[in-house]
Subunit: 167 residues, 2 copies
């Protein structure tokens, strides 16, 4: 029988393994390491939460989430990953993980769960829409990283003409 | 001259005013209150950060952000709002706010800044693309809230046939 539990520091390697599987499935590069996860998730100031679904044979899937804060609606949760291993799909594991998070959100008085789905991942979109999630089709997600981020960090306040602000 | 500073608890009302202006501009409903912002942003465990740009005449704009955590890339920042008041647009205020956050991100060793832009807001899209931000065009943003969230919270693990799991 599948059970869902909170991940702890001893799960960092397992979690990393599951994240790598998720990365393969989503065709995205993973640069995080088990050591970083152990430190950031299970240190003094946890930066994320993870839960693991498992049966007697091992891990069936996981969810990875962290605190979100909407300036318009107040506190919520950002669901970064929800992943079920191939052999366990169609058995209610994803629903059990999502339900676990939904209970935390309701208990905490948070407004809801926000998350991204890759647009080619039709089975994930169907899964979430079937659970009543709404697609925010008017929102684009952007990212500022790498050289562009470094350029922004060294920029100074300019006038419209482009000259530097007087100090 | 425009200066950027960290917001503090005494700014909760000003911040709420700016968020309401941003809500009008984005045509979105705001349910947060100044009291909730004061508590959640400037209490024992801050759930978000805010910075304010101002000159001698008052506030020119603000940015509202919080810790993000990518399971693939590690720690980052989610930029919830970046807003410049009408009279101050085109003067580098948005760039100054974004630059302030970029420095924090670089100093913290974070991977980058993630944010949403409404797809009709062409001037915001141009602003961010001009700064080198990349649009994650393969990602959809979804939300699970309200009755659907409450339904998920009371769901129990089911077999594929839909019957309840044996306990």
């Amino acid at each position: 029988m599948i059970q869902v539990r909170q991940a702890n520091r001893a799960d960092a390697k397992l979690l990393m393994q599951l994240i790598l599987e998720m990365g393969q499935h989503e065709r995205l590069a993973v640069t995080a390491t088990a050591g970083q996860l152990a430190e950031d998730g299970f240190g003094e100031r946890p930066r994320f939460h993870a839960i693991i679904a498992e049966d007697g044979a091992g891990a069936a899937g996981y969810a990875f989430f962290f605190d979100y804060y909407s300036s318009f609606q107040g506190p919520g949760v950002f669901l970064e990953d929800l992943y079920v291993r191939g052999a366990y799909r169609g058995k209610g594991v994803g629903r059990a993980l999502l339900s676990h998070i939904a209970r935390q959100v309701i208990d905490g008085g948070d407004f809801g769960i926000v998350f991204n789905v890759l647009d080619w991942n039709q089975s994930a979109l169907r899964f979430f829409e079937d659970k009543g999630a709404s697609v925010q089709s008017d929102r684009k997600t952007l990212c500022l990283t790498g050289a562009a981020l470094r350029d922004m960090a060294v920029t100074t306040l300019s006038t419209p003409g482009g000259s530097h602000a007087r100090n």
